[in-house]
Amino acid sequence: MSKQFQFKLVLLGESAVGKSSLVLRFVKDQFDDYRESTIGAAFLTQTVTLSDQTTVKFEIWDTAGQERYKSLAPMYYRNANCAVVVYDITQSASLEKARTWIRELQRQADPSIVIALCGNKLDLSARRQVTQEEAKKYADEEGLMWTETSAKTGEGVTEIFTAIAQKLPLTAPGATRAGAGRTGGPSARAGVDLNKQSTTPGQPDACNC
């Protein structure tokens, strides 16, 4: 029988970098040219199946990027197993913002959290302000996964979520879905016993998918 795992994933990043668009692409394979800025937080789920038939269910929290709601972000990334910090490759300021988020996660979030840095809007590479070298170098230094995506074309989107699923410690004893009965919102602690996992956080392991 195949194994099942469940993880809590949070998306962070400046407003308008494309967090909601990435989730929409990943969950529904759709794209919207005119998306409204998120004023709140949305909870969605999506499952990925790995090559070894293991299924990983993500409980995704898409957060609000606007500065005004920054103080609420910790409520949504607490207990997260993984975070996707998004920047817009056409806006160098958005990478700066991503760095602040990553610093905050490293300080405040669960120490074993898996962080992926994601440069979005790859389809607009003509207007690129953030070079791949710069971003990758930063990611390597900080031990983050890194990739570039386009929510518009779909390029790299499934891949980054799959890469995260692979990176998450699936062998940890607590990782299987606890009570299959409850299908409501995310449980406070999605599943992984973070103390018992073997991979140490901060280990450089960038994925270039």
Binding site: A41, F43, L72, M75, G184, G185
Partner: protein
Amino acid sequence: MPAISLVSDLLRSPDVAKVVLEATLVTASETSQDLQNRRVLAVISHKDDWDLTEEGSLFVCKYKNHVNGQLDELDIQRVFPIYGEFSVVISQMRRGTVDLRPTMSSKSVLEQPRAVITLSITPSEGLSNDVQPPTFFTYDVQGLKSLVAECKRMKEVSDVEANAVINLAQSTTHFSWLKPYFAKHTTITTLASTSQDLREINRPSLERLSPACAGQTGDDHADAQAIRDEWVRVKARDLSRNGRRRLTMRLGTFNVNGKMPSQDLSAWVQASVNATSRSQPNTVTPALPPLKKISPLSLGNAVQNPFNWLSGRSKSTPKANITQPEDPILRVDPTDPDDPDLLVFGFQELDLSTEALIYSTGTAREDAWCLAIFAALGEKAVKYEKLVSRQLMGMLIVIIVKKCLKDCFGNIRTSVAGAGILGVMGNKGGTAIRLSFTPPAHNSGGSSKSPWGPTSLTFVNAHLAAFDEMVDKRNSDFQDLSKRLLFEGIPARSSSPAPESESVDDSMTSDVPPTPSLGLTPSLSVYETDALFWLGDLNYRVDVSDADMRKILRDDDWDNAQKLEALLRFDQLKKAMRSKKAFFGFQESPITHFPTYRFSPGLMMDKFGYDYKRKPAWTDRILYMNSPGCRVNQLAYTGHPQIMMSDHRPVSADFSVDVDLFDPNALYTNVRNLFNDVERLDGESTHEKGGLRVVDTYVDFEKVLYGVPVERKVTVKNLSKGPCAFRFVPVQLDSPIHPEWLQIHPKTGILLPDEVVEISMVAYVDNAIASILNLRPKDLSGTLILHTILGKDHFISVSGEYQYTCFANKLSHLNRLRGPVREMESPNDLLPEIRSTNAPAELMRLLDWIMTNKIIPDDLFLAPGNDTVIQRIQECLDTGDDFPYNARTPASDEQIPRSFAVTLVRFLDSLLDSIMPAHLHLRCLEMTNRDEAFELLNELPPSAINVWITVTSFLHFICKSSKKENQAERVATVFAPIFMRDDPHSLIPPISPKAKSKFLLYFMG
């Protein structure tokens, strides 16, 4: 659409419909074969995941009512698991026995068959003796044959052991797949019944939901159901109500101490329900101290619920808004509105003999007391008759009703529970009666059957553990009785079914929705009712010393209302209610009578007749609890000291109960239709459906002023194709959902597709909130989180700038202000300590204006001012602006100086410092002259001394210039409770208001 696909629409995968048959329910009454009786019978097969086992069930489905007559949806009416004794019996219908008018459709007229065959279904668990199996007839002989064959096959594949009976509601193995099919019907039946637990129903809606906060959704599925059920219940009730009728009753409790009646009981027994005043034959005249009229406390009361205040909506406690002027409520017995419709008397210690503890001692005593009651009714006695009584040892409860209403009462059930030694034997416990009241038909000529549904009333008569120190035992006795006083289930299909617990979907007993439990309706607790009245010798005492108790009761320095108020703060029952240890959620009217215990007929008694050996107490009480739909209003609550045959005095209470006129069939239909609207609330996540849209995500209250409510509306729309539910959640689990200065309504709700709701948000700062905000930065911004059940969190930013005020502030702050309080940048923006002034500038401005003013009305401080003027004065104090009222050119309007006076009182009353701390009050009593009194002031902090001296010498001046006599005494009664505030947490009773005035007069006089 063919019936088979309609049935398939109802099924969950992997279930399939094997055979489908159209048939008509045979009803006992001679009704035509209208749509109401058309049914679709279907044999459903369920296989497990591995296709190893199969189970079958026969579904009875009914067409949903559609206005346009289209039959495109079915409801499952009943499910019969196929095993055991299940059988379908077929017989040929004899001509002449059935009305063959085929009215279904013109098509079926043409195809009118020759043969009409009936089929009767015997359920698997068998039939009880007096129940007819549901019977249908059909023309479709071929279909019937296949149905029977399939049922037979299903019975063969069933592996339920012989003689076993499966409880569908509880089974986790056999037929557990059927649960979702009948769950809906059970829910609808429950929602349409009136037996909801009052404790649950009266809890604020948010408290009934699962704990949740930002990023941590609770149990959304359970919450969806809770919100849905409440929405359906309230809405259906509102839709089904055809007005209300008022039932009146007198309740009484009397611990008779084993005595036989020897005195006229009419004071206790007879009530005039039109009596508006509470102070009946009582020695107590409730008098409010003059302060209440003008103090900020009364301001607080007026706007306690800003929603009521702003919109005139009545949504607070059902008790508060009992009289709706717009719809005068008719009495259930309009011919005789002066006398109560129902009399309920609880006795304790009816019989103190030892035999009475062990076995029932006959009804001699009960008869004697009932005789005394009827004697006390005098000429009215002929109108009444005893309906029911129940006795347990010394506890007896008797219900007497007006003869003309007797038929309105039904479903009478009684219960007893002992709470004494071993919980069974002893002299403590309770007896209870539950009955339903069905309002008589309009223009009732007497015999016509009432079209209305019943309202259930429950009465408990209890006798709890005695002695001062046994308060924990009393609390646990109460909890114990709450659990153990149960009204046993009655047979679900007895000849007189409980109308409120039976479904009225079909008047046919043979076609009721499935009852998952067999045989009996569940037993009911005393809380599963529309209104509960709990009376008795509850034995709660007063936690003050015996000496204090007697001294205050007899002390002429208090008026009676003040005495009772001061002492009742220490009442153990009130304390138990506050700490939720007992009687939580019950209401009790204010007590305006003296303690009812203990009186001694001999010599050993004090001036009031209270026994020297027992501290007087309010042991005999009457409390109640009601559902929001059943409005209860208490008209009187009285002790009867003139009835002296026992060591207790009897207590009575008059109530009016407004019962709904509702058609039970309409209620059931409304519940079902509303439920269908919101059924899929907890279905797929609302992301799929679009969800809610919060139109206003930013709400600015701008300047938030003390005492001035500001309302903003937030519009929320439902953009999805299905219903959406929402609830507010806090940022953290243990934090409130909104800041204290803000109130939100509603906090939970449901929106149907395209529905728009306005959420009202009111910023309001009273003294309590100002005392917090005055010490905080003035920026009020924050975020509210509106959580869509199974969907998004929406953020609503609220902002505002708090305007600091001198009200509800600290002397130490006010004395160190750089300028007007409004100009403070932050609460720490103060002068250094050494530069602090002697008294607040605001206080001096008020005194100054009144002193300069040429007219000093005689009722200054004693009469209310004008609210607009007061508000303007307050604002000028805070801003430092000049008062727009010139003191030197006296206006003819005396309202202005009065308003200044009121503002002064409010200012002093709102100060966070207590000028003369409560722990010094007893010393104040000892002072015998002016010099000693001044001496005592040295114990106060310097800032308090300054305020004391400044204000008292000002009052001295004002009162001296009054032409009236005793002006100082009168004004002192206003200022004494402000300068000498009681400590609400103190364990000793306060000193008397007169003593406070006396002390104050050393300075003012």
